[in-house]
């Protein structure tokens, strides 16, 4: 198996819309008013025209598609392949995304029009008036990848995974596998999510998962955030030959689905850690986690961190991505990977950990882990 490097990173988030902004640690704000009593984290510092100059292209996309194209372009630019048609033509693309925004005002009008015994007939008639043809294309999950291909030229492969947090984690794991297995030399992997959607908040609210605030006190729970995060993964030999600078090297990635009533995420994470790094480990480690607002998962994460600290004796840092971004759902694991890559290969670099382990645990299911290390 060949080594896999991270050679580019890109991010749009509540903590800034470039990797450098995010790492500088500017505090992100929670908007508690728009969807009170729930909070959301809107993106900060985002310029939709940066990589998508044509208005017509921007109008054809949902907000999370715009975030995704921008973060993908940042990652390609950082890797030095933005605009390199030949390399982009063989670059593979894996995207974690769900459906984009519905037109909730159209939906409201449809619901209002369709009342009474013949509600379905009225509904059919109202839809012919209310629905717009272009909206459909701005909603389909695969059109995130479609727009990245069309606007940035990535066309070697294009696959979209759905499934909330684990979709993002699997994009990373499978992207690494594509390179390690020799099928691809460069992969662009990532995900996106838009929090500013009442129908999505309603669904999480129904499940009792969201944090509430009345201004004075705040209940535990999720604060979902908007954004996108992408990484360029590359065969190390290929990257060396073209003189690309690595942020970090992949040690390994794992995903699993524990029966949480029998095996806690902390135990699962420990097994994943051992399967990735083995028993012997003398490197200093940093942990990027954040339990997405779940007190249960926060306890589990602390238990894993304690075990890591006891074994390696060198847990130098424990960072919460949830504090930085809110919960990015499909984009959460990619955003943590971006943070980890920046911690290893960012401008500063001195005195930090040799390895970073990223945890991503789904709010409903799934436990994943990615371990990156400094390239010597």
């Amino acid at each position: 198996m060949g080594s896999v490097w991270v050679t580019g990173v890109g991010i749009v988030s509540a903590a800034g819309s470039s990797a450098a902004d995010v790492l500088s640690g500017q505090a992100s704000q929670t908007d508690w008013s728009t969807f009170a009593p729930y909070g959301i984290r809107p993106v900060v510092g985002f310029d939709p025209e940066r990589y998508v100059p044509k208005r017509g292209d921007r109008r054809a996309m949902s907000s999370m598609m715009l975030y995704a194209v921008d973060a993908a372009a940042q990652a390609l630019e950082g890797a030095g392949i933005l605009g390199d048609a030949a390399l982009l033509g063989e670059t593979g693309l894996l995207v974690a995304a769900g459906m984009s925004d519905r037109d909730t005002s159209a939906d409201a009008a449809l619901l209002e029009a369709a009342r009474g015994d013949d509600q379905w007939v009225r509904h059919n008639a109202a839809m012919q008036e209310q629905l717009r043809p272009t909206l459909f294309l701005a909603q389909l999950p695969n059109l995130v990848a479609g727009n990245i291909s069309i606007l940035l030229g990535v066309s070697g492969m294009s696959r979209t995974l759905m499934g909330e947090e684990m979709a993002g984690a699997e994009c990373i794991r499978l992207g690494i596998a594509q390179i390690a297995g020799g099928q691809r030399r460069i992969m662009l992997v990532g995900g996106c999510f838009s929090a500013e959607r009442p129908e999505v908040l309603a669904s999480y609210a129904a499940a009792g998962l969201l944090s509430r605030s009345d201004g004075a006190t705040r209940e535990a729970g999720m604060v979902i955030g908007s954004g996108a995060a992408f990484l360029v993964l590359e065969d190390a030999d290929h990257a060396r030959r073209r003189g690309a600078r690595p942020y970090g090297q992949v040690v390994g990635a794992a995903t699993g689905r524990a029966d949480r009533s029998a095996v806690g995420p902390a135990e699962q994470a420990w097994q994943q850690w051992q399967s990735i790094v083995g028993e012997e480990d003398s490197a200093s480690v940093a942990l990027v986690g954040g339990a997405n607002g779940s007190t249960l998962l926060a306890d589990e994460e602390r238990a894993f961190a304690d075990r890591l600290a006891a074994t390696t004796d060198r847990l130098v840092e424990h960072r919460s991505a949830t504090e930085m971004f809110g919960h990015l759902i499909d984009a959460s694991a990619p955003a943590r990977a971006v943070v980890a890559a920046m911690m290893l290969g960012g401008a500063s670099g001195e005195g930090q950990a040799d390895r970073v382990v990223c945890l991503e645990w789904g709010h409903g299911y799934g436990e994943s882990q990615l371990v990156l290390e400094r390239v010597q």
Partner: protein, 421 residues
């Protein structure tokens, strides 16, 4: 450039379409050129531009929600595939699950119910998300969760690991097969279950595709509406359906003495960079996609016996697919048998790649080509042997199955006979 990748064995298949509840009933009708397209009776169609579809036979009550149908259809086809493979005598599948499922949304039947329960007015159902805390939590939450269908199916069948849900629009079923093939080739697993499921037929989806001028409007002649490669084709016919495949490494299948039905010998893919709904005018990504499947299998273009076309019956797809086939196969193109299952069962969208892979395998197993029906007015620009109207006895060992997604994702699979290797 590529050396041949390892072929992966298919040991079980399951099929649910407008033409039947299992492989046997589907094959009888598909090989005899029988259409399953009919007027929609499950929901109100008055006021819709298209009022017919490839509706599957009733296996659940009319009021079953779309999300529940995705799961029911998936479990239905999985049971057939697992039974045939003999891999799971207890009905449990000890391996990973790879699914193709449409994106999760609240169905309108949910929304009407929520509107009435919450007694909301014109300001909109979602204007105050906090109201939702009063509702049946599980129902309202789960319907909007993308992983829900795959998680439920994985739990029902006992599959291991994180179930993967892939969505590449009309290529989704083929992409799911591709993910599973890669997992077996890499040694990550010896076996995998692949399911494509599609039940999103609804007034809203019909309206949305109609607004894009993608659907046939031949309401007076549903069974004649899907006419791939015909000059007078006017759009595709929406359909429901599902298909399942049990895939295994050849070693694992032989070790347990399983009968191998066919092999997935090659996978190819190429994303289009041209336009959100149209292929590159030179069909370059379609050509690249097909030729990658062929080279992945380590064979030459000349070895392909038959093409199971994407063949949607839209003016654009059939033109571009035909252009790609003509360019890749050159002098052989006019002689190559090429047919479209969609002429009989419609376009099963998210499931289509898996449905047509299964039909391709049945084609190999039975030694008979399913026809393209409704081929009355040939398109002079598409000079192919489309196996018109009636099935044809012909042994084929190497089938290319195309799936092209709305949004630019193209996937081709190369399926070969069990005795060919």
């Amino acid at each position: 450039m590529n050396k041949a990748s390892t072929a992966v064995a298919v040991t079980g298949v399951g099929l649910l379409t407008a033409n039947g509840l299992d492989c046997a009933s589907n094959w009888t009708r598909l090989s005899n050129g029988v259409s399953g397209i009919r007027p929609i009776t499950r929901f109100e169609t008055e006021g819709l531009g298209t009022r017919f579809a490839g509706c599957v036979p009733d296996i659940c009550p009319d009021e079953t929600t779309i999300a529940d149908r995705h799961i029911l259809y998936a479990n239905h086809v999985a049971a057939e595939a697992m039974t045939q493979s003999g891999i799971s005598p207890d009905g449990r599948f000890a391996g990973p699950l790879f699914m193709a499922v449409p994106g999760a949304e609240h169905g309108w039947e949910d929304l009407f119910q929520l509107r009435d329960e919450l007694a909301v007015g014109a300001e909109g159902l979602f204007a105050d998300p906090a109201r939702y805390e009063r509702l049946d939590r599980t129902r309202t939450y789960l319907r909007r969760i993308d992983a829900r269908v795959a998680l439920q199916v994985a739990d029902d069948l006992g599959c291991t690991g994180v179930p993967l849900t892939t969505f590449t629009a009309c290529a989704s079923g083929a992409s799911a097969i591709q993910f599973a093939v890669e997992a077996i080739r890499s040694g990550e697993t010896e076996r995998a279950l692949v399911i494509g499921t599609e039940a999103s037929l609804s007034p809203e989806l019909i309206t949305r595709f109609s607004l894009l001028s993608a659907l046939s409007r031949r309401n007076e002649d549903p069974s004649g509406a899907s006419r791939p490669f015909s000059k007078d084709r006017d759009g595709f016919v929406m359909a429901e359906g599902a298909a399942a495949l049990v895939l295994e490494s050849t070693e694992a299948a032989r070790r347990r003495g399983a009968e191998i039905l066919a092999f997935v010998a090659g996978c190819g893919e190429a994303a289009d960079t041209f336009h959100r709904t149209r292929s590159s005018p030179d069909a370059s990504s379609i050509i690249r996609c097909m030729s990658q499947a062929i080279s992945d299998a380590g064979i030459s273009v000349d070895t392909v016996d038959y093409i199971n076309a994407h063949g949607t019956s839209t003016p654009e797809n059939d033109k571009m697919e035909g252009k790609g086939i003509a360019a890749l196969f050159g002098n052989r193109a006019p002689l190559m048998p090429i047919s479209s299952n969609k002429s009989m069962i419609g376009h099963t969208l998210t499931a289509a790649g898996a449905v047509e892979a299964v039909v391709s395998i049945l084609t190999i197993v039975h030694g008979q080509l399913p026809p393209t029906i409704n081929y009355v007015t040939p398109d002079p620009e598409l000079n192919f042997d489309v196996v018109p109207d009636a099935g044809r006895r012909q042994q084929v060992d190497c089938v290319l199955s195309n799936s092209f997604g709305f949004g630019g994702q193209n996937v081709s699979l190369l399926l070969t006979s069990a005795h060919g290797r």
